[in-house]
């Protein structure tokens, strides 16, 4: 008879400003696998956690948006390298959520896809405009700012990566509410982000109930855009969009039809979170 080792289990916490705090509310909720087995007590994020996360995201914005596109691309690619190295852990976590290990593979490749976009965004949607006068006129894309995101509830990892990566590649910073039912891959992804040279505060991960936390983000005056991709309840989506209109946030609505998160993502999600700045300068 060999002795069975008692495993050390991980405490799943929030990820705010590069640190892993518990919810200031002290609340947690039980996360279970598809067959009902207990997996972990995840932090049940609060209004105050959301506000802390927005502060962290705003603080990180000047540095991250001011980094060169090359540098941001290198860091996103580093995330893919780190994720690949921890593939087995993610496969176990998504399996417990009843999801295919292929979603892990796609998640890794999605970081690579977006890493490659970093220094091409301006080349695809910037322009030198031939104005009818002696002026140099150049339009360049800039990140919109702090983006609050409600991640899709499933696929838990791929859905999350698919909404976070396009936001940060252009220089935005993010507060994301992870899948309520399957939050564990999101926290493990935060551990990857924390070890990929991504500056603290660029991505902040909250776990808990979107219906409880999202309204505070939708009305928060220091949030510039709201991505509702993960909102399933049409009434909640409408309420959040209306809340967001109070400060004229850019809103990504939930898709009208179910999204194939495994399909090649295209450029739309990047474009939705950009501002265009046009500079005039006389010639001659």
């Amino acid at each position: 008879m060999h002795e069975v080792r008692v495993a050390v289990r991980k405490t799943y916490k929030l990820y705010i400003g590069g640190a892993f705090p518990r919810s200031e509310s002290g609340r947690t909720y039980q996360v279970t696998s598809t067959d009902g087995a207990f997996l972990a007590n995840a932090a049940l994020g609060s209004r105050k956690d959301a506000r802390d996360a927005v502060i962290a995201a705003r603080k990180a914005f000047p540095g991250w948006s001011g980094a060169t596109a090359y540098n941001r691309g290198q860091i996103l690619y580093r995330v893919a390298e780190m994720l690949e190295a921890r593939r087995a852990q993610f496969e176990a976590e998504v399996a417990a959520a009843g999801e295919s290990p292929d979603t892990v593979t796609e998640s890794i490749d999605r970081w690579v896809w977006y890493a490659g976009w970093a220094d091409k965004i301006a080349q695809v949607c910037g322009a030198a405009n031939p104005v009818a006068g002696p002026y140099f006129n150049l339009s360049v894309p800039e990140p919109t700012g702090v983006v609050a995101v409600i991640a899709p509830s499933t696929p838990s990892l791929l859905g999350l990566v698919s909404v976070v990566a396009p936001a940060i590649v252009a220089g935005n910073t993010v507060v994301v509410i992870a899948s309520e039912r399957h939050p564990l891959p999101a926290i493990t992804l935060a551990e990857v982000l924390a070890t990929s040279d991504l500056p603290g505060g660029v991505v902040n991960v909250l776990t808990g109930r979107p219906a409880e936390i999202a309204p505070w983000l939708a009305t928060h005056a220091d949030v510039n855009a709201l991505d509702l991709s993960g909102v399933v309840d049409p009434q909640l989506a409408t309420d959040l969009e209306r809340d967001a209109a109070g400060t004229l946030k850019r809103v990504i609505r939930p898709a009208a039809t179910p999204v194939d998160w495994a399909a090649e993502p295209g450029f739309d999600r990047i474009r939705a979170l950009l501002e265009t700045k046009t500079v005039w300068h006389p010639r001659g």
């Binding site: 596109a69 090359y70 690619y77 490659g116 970093a118 080349q123 140099f136 001659g284």
Partner: protein, 477 residues
């Protein structure tokens, strides 16, 4: 008169392990050439032999092209873009990982200062692969139609002034778009290309996707002539570029050329003088002036000419010429005896035609190929040193009175690769840039390169662009 003495700070050679001889890199393996011909590659700083390198003949080129065709048909052409991307990302990472080794080897084989190979050539080469890796699965977004197709097998011939960087400029976009490659490095600088072959193996790049054939002009000519080549990309002299364009006339081969230059660096009377002096020095003495886009003609507004020249000479007197492996060195060795002879001949012609020659007092090493930084004043537009590309550390100074005259003189050349403008006035920068017939215009800076930024010339400086989104076009159907 040196205020500060520098102790030598040589970079260690121990990071590089040279083989005594190198074969050709064909179909994923190093192979001996068919007829066993070899050449020696030397260090231009010491004239020591670094290694023997194979000379590829027509038969070897034929095998290499066949390998590239096979790889194109069976592996690389059909491969999804996102998988090609991953190989290119791997190569970018491997160049970063082996950057010190590549930098020392480049400096040994080429003679350029280690500071430049370490801080410019190698990081830019890695960045180039990183940039084009990202395009491999995004070609539909590049503006060349919904589904741009590769051309097939590409023959690439590169020069000796930036051996690894020019390799990166050629191979990265070709592979990203799905082409396979037969590349011929320059006769005098084959070693980093051969180390790159090892990087391809470490990346598990499929055999035949990249093939490296070493040799001299005849090897390049065999590659250009080969009927199974779909596209040729050449960087080098205008004379050879012209020959290639003639040789492929009547075929379906596509061609891009990045050729010589005689860039004007225009300094207006309101320019920040100290910044301009740094830019002028960087423009012409960077890489010993072995730069096709070098600012080899200084056009300075007459009213500030004396002040600027005094400051320039003071600055040039501080340049450290010598051991390329010394981390303090600013100007290294001339790449070959042949190039040294050409620089010497043109400089003599400058004197004979009546220009005034000046060089700082500097001791040159007794071994190797060296040329002191040189400034010619009193140069007229008719002088050979104002018209011909010297490709060495030789600056010709001309003056002008009005912006219109500056533009006229700047454009008075067969070339059109690059130009520089120095003025505090933004509107003047843009107005002058508009009128310069050159592919790259630097304002209040010079010799800046980036993988996202297209590079290439007007007129007899060649056609096609390398770098940036535009650089994809050369490799897409």
């Amino acid at each position: 008169m040196n205020m500060f003495e520098y102790a030598p700070a040589p970079e260690s050679r121990s990071v590089v392990s040279l083989q005594s001889s190198y074969g050709l890199f064909i179909d994923g393996e190093f192979v001996d050439p068919r007829d066993g011909g070899t050449m020696k590659t030397i260090s231009p700083a010491t004239e020591e032999t670094l290694a023997e390198v194979a000379v590829a003949t027509e038969a070897d080129v034929d095998i290499a092209v066949a390998a590239a065709r096979r790889a194109y048909d069976t592996v690389w052409g059909p491969m999804p873009g996102r998988d090609r991307a991953k190989y290119l990302f791997r190569i970018a990472r491997l160049i970063q990982e082996r950057s010190r080794e590549l930098a020392v080897l480049e400096t040994l084989d080429n003679g350029k200062p280690i500071r430049e190979s370490r801080d410019v050539d190698v990081p830019l080469a890695a960045a180039h692969f990183f940039y084009y890796a990202g395009w491999a699965d995004k070609l539909a977004h590049a503006g060349f139609g919904a589904d741009p197709r590769p051309l097939g097998v590409v023959g690439q011939v590169i020069p000796w002034n930036f051996p690894l960087l020019m390799l990166a400029w050629k191979i990265a976009p070709a592979l990203a778009t799905g082409n396979t490659v037969v590349l011929k490095p320059a006769e005098t600088t084959p070693l980093t290309a051969l180390l790159f072959a090892d990087i391809c193996r470490q990346a598990d790049l499929p055999a035949g996707v990249v093939n490296i054939v070493t040799g001299a002009g005849e090897t390049g000519a065999a590659l250009v002539r080969h009927p199974e080549i779909d596209k040729i990309a050449f960087t080098g002299s205008t004379a050879v570029g012209r020959n290639i364009a003639q040789a492929i006339a009547g075929t379906r081969k596509r061609l891009t050329l990045e050729l010589g230059g005689k860039a004007a660096n225009i300094v207006f009377d309101d320019a920040p003088i100290d910044q301009a002096v740094e830019g002028i020095v960087n423009g012409i003495f960077f890489n010993q002036g072995h730069v096709c886009c070098a600012g080899s003609r200084l056009l300075v507004q007459e009213s500030i000419a004396d002040e600027l020249l005094d400051a320039l000479k003071r600055r040039v007197s501080q340049l450290r010429v010598g051991d390329p492996l010394d981390k303090n060195t600013d100007v290294g060795a001339i790449n070959s005896a042949e190039q040294l002879a050409r620089i010497s001949e043109l400089s003599s012609a400058g004197e004979a035609e009546g220009a005034t020659r000046w060089s700082p007092a500097c001791e040159l090493p007794s071994q190797g190929f060296w040329f002191a930084p040189t400034i010619f004043t009193g140069v007229s537009q008719a002088h050979r040193i104002a018209r011909e590309e010297v490709f060495g550390p030789v600056l010709s100074v001309l003056t002008f009175r009005t912006p219109a005259e500056a533009i006229e003189k700047a454009n008075n050349t067969q070339y059109g690769l690059s130009a520089g403008i120095w003025t505090e006035k933004g509107s003047r920068i843009l107005a002058v840039a508009d009128k310069l017939r050159a592919g790259v215009v630097w304002a209040n800076t010079f010799n800046k390169f980036d993988p996202t930024s297209p590079f290439g010339g007007y007129k007899e400086s060649g056609y096609g662009r390398e770098g940036g989104r535009h650089g994809l076009e050369a490799y897409c159907a």
